[in-house]
């Protein structure tokens, strides 16, 4: 039951077991990490735009990244980014964005917030495990951040940490302590996401309220549920890859290392290890991981688009089946990241075929988004803008996936900026847009206040435009054969043509990063003093809007509402109101409800008096 039990500051805000508080903790940590990761990218974009640019202004903060050059003639000292630290920055940028922002920040926030609220549960199956999951995540965040400041620099082998750079502690400076910290942090991270996923799965299966069959689940929940399953199946494999790596690094085994020649002239004392083995294990996680990132964003988009187009989502069943299809397929396509590892061409063509088949469910989803928008009564809320933005980005980035999925096209494009463009648009930007969409849409549920709409528009347009300005030109750079992860392009004639374009991209990236401060300002200001929210500001159908504006621990005062229909009954023909919430029974509907009243609170009687659902009470 909702209750007035006494909670101390610590149990309410720090070691909270309330899923809504944990969601906020995830969100705030995620946003913080987003700014860190974004800042690192500005740092290395400046280097790419202006090779050898002077970073004296950053010397205090980032001393160990900058090597000082003393000019004998003029007596000037300049601080430039050291090449190995360039690699460190890209590695940490990728790691932070992929795992800390878009995996934990996105899933952690919205699975935690919405699973209990949208399925009608008082909390997760195991609130304690849930709390533990956040604090493991927090610990891994701290370790990863600490590694930014150590003398030899953080891990520098790319977010994919391929051996030998990751397996040989003396390979490059970042291969030493930095890599060890990376592995420690990620091991804790994996434990955290497993704990989260265990909870999400058993909560969705076990704790749905009366009447809420799987066929009536909002698409957000379907997406979070399948994401959790992907995580449970794929993160352990990354763990096994990392475990073997740790043995190679620290105990002298040769899983990934062979007797390779060393820079100092010697031969490494290892036999028979295979770095390709690591790639197989890594991408067996890595490809599902990209869908772990994307699917929650797709789920959020589905709900936001349906609500704000005032139409049922087009093809609910097809949406669920596509998510299922994507989930299954994502486990058998990892080889498309390895076309150039000398794999048997026959195997390559199998990976190619299954990869291209993923385009089918992806296209179905895109089509359904567009069909839902078609002739809808579209409300351009901030959440809706970002959701539509996701659809745009998903199309642009998905198309280049079809190029790369063809082995013959991928072989010249592999490891070029074309791939960078592809995955930043289809995964990075799309998922970030999904996350923003969710934040704007559920902000009233999280903080009881509304975000500023005008600032939201400014944030949207600046972000949307700069994303395209940054990543679209990269396709051309990549087609010309410019490789990714290079410190500078000033030494190669063929890349000279792109020096100006690189400057342009850097300007656009700075614009995009600056735009995020508009969001930050809006977020903080609205949380403190935004317009007070009403119970159901978007006139949505799903259960979370049946609670109080600021639901207490336990979510519903009184009985948990039952569910009477699917989540998308907007503008139903023959019904005189434009939405039919899941929690209102037919009888109650027939009584006139004044949903244009002063306080814009459309639903007067939120807890149906007719139902009892005591067996779902968990406390």
């Amino acid at each position: 039951m909702a209750h007035e039990h006494h909670e101390s500051f610590i149990s309410k805000y720090i070691f909270s077991q309330d899923h809504k508080m944990i969601a906020r903790q995830y969100l705030i940590t995620g946003i913080f990490m987003g700014f860190v990761g974004g800042f690192l990218s500005i740092f290395f974009r400046l280097q790419l735009g202006w090779d050898g640019i002077d970073f004296t202004w950053l010397n205090g903060l980032f001393g160990n990244y900058l090597s000082s050059n003393f000019n004998e003639a003029t007596g000037d000292v300049s601080y430039v980014l050291a090449p190995d630290k360039y690699l460190a920055l890209v590695t940490m940028h990728g790691t932070i964005l992929v795992f800390f922002v878009l995996t934990a920040g996105l899933s952690g926030t919205f699975s935690n917030l919405l699973i209990p609220l949208q399925i009608g549960a008082r909390d997760m199956a195991s609130p304690f495990l849930n709390m533990l999951s956040y604090w493991f995540f927090f610990l891994s965040t701290v370790i990863m951040l600490v590694s930014l400041f150590i003398e030899t620099g953080p891990a520098s082998a790319g977010w994919t940490i391929y051996p030998p750079l990751s397996a040989l502690p003396k390979a490059i400076p970042g291969s030493g302590l930095g890599m060890t910290l990376w592995l420690a942090s990620m091991a804790i991270f994996i434990a955290s996401s497993l704990m989260g996923a265990l909870n999400y799965i058993s909560t969705v299966l076990n704790m749905r309220t009366k009447g809420l069959s799987m066929k009536k689940l909002p698409l957000t929940i379907w997406a979070f549920f399948l994401t959790a399953i992907l995580g449970t199946l794929s993160f352990p494999v990354l763990f096994s890859a990392a475990l073997l790596l740790i043995f190679d690094r620290s105990f002298g085994t040769s899983f990934y290392l062979d007797g390779i020649y060393l820079a100092d002239g010697g031969v490494l004392d290892k036999t028979g290890g295979s770095p390709i083995l690591f790639q197989h294990l890594f991408w067996f996680l890595g490809h599902p991981e990209v869908y772990i990132i994307l699917m929650p964003a797709l789920g959020i988009t589905s709900e936001v688009i349906s609500t704000n187009a005032r139409k049922p989502i087009f093809g609910y069943k097809a949406m669920v089946i596509s998510l299922l299809g994507i989930s299954v397929l994502s486990f058998i396509v990892w080889g498309h990241h390895m076309f150039v590892t000398g794999m048997n061409p026959f195997l390559g063509s199998i990976f190619m075929i299954v990869t291209l088949i993923i385009a089918v469910p992806s296209a179905i989803k895109t089509f359904n988004y567009l069909a839902t928008l078609w002739k809808g009564n579209i409300h351009f809320t901030n959440g809706m803008m970002f959701a539509i933005g996701l659809v745009s980005l998903f199309i642009s980035g998905g198309l280049t996936g079809i190029w790369l999925g063809n082995a013959a096209i991928d072989i010249p494009l592999h490891n070029t900026y074309f791939v960078v463009a592809h995955f930043h648009i289809v995964m990075g930007a799309s998922a970030i847009f999904g996350m923003f969409s969710g934040v704007y849409h559920w902000f009233p549920k999280m903080f009881g206040r509304m975000m500023d709409k005008k600032l939201g528009y400014i944030h949207f347009w600046l972000t949307f435009i700069s994303v395209y300005l940054v990543f679209f030109p990269m396709h051309f750079i990549g087609l010309a054969g410019v490789p990714r992860r290079y410190y500078a392009f000033t030494n190669f004639d063929f890349a000279d043509d792109f020096l100006d374009l690189n400057k342009f991209i850097t300007y656009a990236a700075i614009l995009g990063f600056a735009a995020q401060f508009v969001f930050l300002y809006n977020f903080i200001k609205s949380a403190i003093s935004g317009e007070k929210a009403v119970k159901n500001p978007w006139r949505a159908n799903t259960l979370e809007w049946s609670t109080e504006v600021n639901p207490g621990h336990g979510n519903w005062v009184g009985a948990i509402p039952s569910v009477y229909r699917g989540p998308h009954e907007y503008s139903k023909p023959g019904v005189d109101r434009d939405f039919l919430p899941q929690w209102i029974s037919e009888e109650d509907l027939n009584q006139a409800v004044d949903y244009d009243s002063e306080d814009h609170d459309p639903i007067k009687r939120d807890v149906p008096s007719t139902t009892q659902n005591e067996e779902s009470v968990t406390e």
Partner: protein
């Protein structure tokens, strides 16, 4: 009064926490699936030393399987509310777990005495990593059993805890059966 449109929800019969144990086991399966498929891929690349499994590992297999039997009987008598027998059987299971641990350590000792070290050919590395990681999971099971042993003295003990622990115990037993057959034959 109940509205006609409200159906009972289709929720599982398994308690949520026990279900969490099942999902956890799935993730452990994936962990070992990762390692054993790495083993296969690595072996296919040649430079591979074939190692015969030490007899201690066979003995430990028998012991761990016997302990899952005692565990199963403990569950059976728990259903019949025979608390005393349950305690004895759980204790026996625990002893089985400890014997398994000892046998694994002896097996490692035998291997090293015969010149098979963690460092060296990757096949030995896999043998140690896989059996070691399995042992860690079994040790986790021992801790859980100890907790259950203590809780068995509590008057209001409810069987679902014992069952969750038992499910996990059966799982680590069968996991070693799989790993043993895999390491022996693949």
């Amino acid at each position: 009064m109940q509205s006609a449109t409200v159906k009972n929800n289709t929720n599982f019969k398994i308690p949520a926490k026990q279900f969490t144990v099942w999902v956890f086991m799935v993730s452990v399966v994936m962990l070992f699936a990762g390692l054993t498929s790495a083993y296969i891929v690595r072996k296919a690349e040649g430079n591979w030393m074939t190692i015969t499994m030490p007899s201690q590992f066979q003995a430990s297999l028998v012991v761990v399987l016997l302990s899952t039997v005692t565990m199963g009987f403990a569950q059976y008598f728990a259903k019949l509310q025979k608390r005393g027998i349950v305690q004895i059987l759980t204790a026996l299971t625990l002893v089985g777990g400890l014997a398994f641990t000892a046998l694994q350590l002896l097996g490692w000792e035998y291997l090293t005495q015969n010149g098979i070290y963690l460092v060296g050919n990757a096949s030995a590395g896999f043998l140690y990593v896989i059996s070691g990681l399995h042992l860690l999971h079994l040790l986790g099971g021992i801790v859980v059993l100890l907790v259950v042993m203590v809780q068995l003295f509590d008057k209001n003990f409810n069987n679902s805890k014992l069952n969750s622990a038992a499910i996990y115990w059966h799982f680590v037993g069968i996991l070693w059966l799989y790993l043993y057959l895999f390491l022996q034959n693949v």
